[in-house]
Symmetry: C2
Subunit: 199 residues, 2 copies
DNA sequence: TGTGATAGTGAACATTATGTTCGACATCGG
DNA sequence: CCGATGTCGAACATAATGTTCACTATCACA
């Protein structure tokens, strides 16, 4: 079988991904058509479909790099032992800060669904790893906790992106951790019955 | 001007909404075309566009009833004063439980984006109301807190729906409150830093 | 019950995007 | 150099969208 990828194929794929990003920045994900992409990438129509099944497929492919970057960041963080649990978050906020433009274009518009779902999956895998072996709760299953962590992260991220003029990744990370670990119980004065009284 | 809606118009709109729900249950939101809808509703094509700008618009319209139902439920709950803050959640879980089929079809598939966003908006308004006047936190703004509550609610809901064979709305509500108010701090070695190093 | 206003019909049309096919050509790796 | 593989690009089939228009049905109201 073929082990190494043909240069031409690699070139084509790279061109397509770059074109996609450029287009996302220019007009947002949703408005992009296949025609736009292959024009920008200077690639034949049939060639496109030889590689990807559609816009969505192409976008998804672009997240492989993110996945490995994050995995690496998390690894080194947990090696240094300076981040405690949820070590991924700071790395992710930093990543988002660096590629802010792309993130905003992806997450902002409502076309972001595909992208957000993909990010969600990448994160879910990471969090799953981190919570493994350190879970002790009768009220909430670990699966749900993973979803909770991921969705809170994304909430903070998408809330931040349109306003992230001066917020540093570190501050963002602190807000995230505050919410995820302590909830908002300390911030609403009212006493709630039965809510936090599990155990 | 016209205050009361013409019977014919009302009839048409109702037919369209019913058709949409039926179709959502049968084949999922995303796969539905305008043609499907007007066939099922037995309505002329031009008539459809005289009332709605598209599928999405039609769907959105259907949430007006949800909005008022929830507002009512929340009102009576806060009248009885038996729910503390976040009074909406139990009502919403009950609503979701009653219309489980529809919710599953809407939230489950990835076509659910439009629906989920709409639910998100309805909820955000409610939560906004409930958190008004009772917010005291330096670390997290109220706006973000609203987003946090809503997204946590939706996380619990979407996590529950595919498995909600035996969960009661009350139990769901407790999980939700636990997460939102106390976070997961008590379940992981929150301040410890060795907890996550599983490898 | 008649009448003007309003709503609905449905086929035709323009438009836009998708995804496939195929013969000819280019480039790769060996 | 050669066979395998990738690319081109135009043509095609398909499918959905949204608009138009002349005609018909129904409504609200006097």
């Amino acid at each position: 079988m073929k082990r190494t990828i043909d240069r031409r194929a690699a070139r084509t794929r790279r061109a397509l991904h770059e074109a996609l990003i450029a287009l996302i920045l220019r007009k947002g994900y949703e408005a992009i058509t296949i025609q736009d992409i292959i024009d920008a990438a200077d690639v034949g129509r049939s060639t496109f479909y030889a590689h990807y099944t559609g816009k969505e497929d192409l976008l998804r492919g672009g997240f492989e790099t993110l996945r490995s970057e994050l995995a690496g960041a998390r690894q080194s963080a947990s090696d240094r032992r300076d981040a405690g649990p949820l070590a991924f978050s700071l790395a992710m906020f930093e990543h988002a800060c660096r590629y802010k433009q792309v993130y905003r274009a992806l997450v902002g518009g409502r076309g972001g669904t595909v992208a957000v779902n993909e990010i969600r999956r990448v994160l879910a895998d990471l969090v799953q790893d981190e919570l493994r072996g350190a879970w002790d709760d009768k009220a909430v299953s670990r699966e749900l906790a993973v979803e909770f962590v991921v969705s809170t992260f994304l909430t903070v991220l998408t809330w931040l992106l349109p306003r992230a003029s001066k917020l540093t990744p570190l501050e963002a990370d602190q807000m995230f951790r505050h919410l995820v670990i302590a909830g908002i119980g300390s911030s609403i004065g009212s006493t709630s019955r039965g809510a936090a009284s599990s155990g």
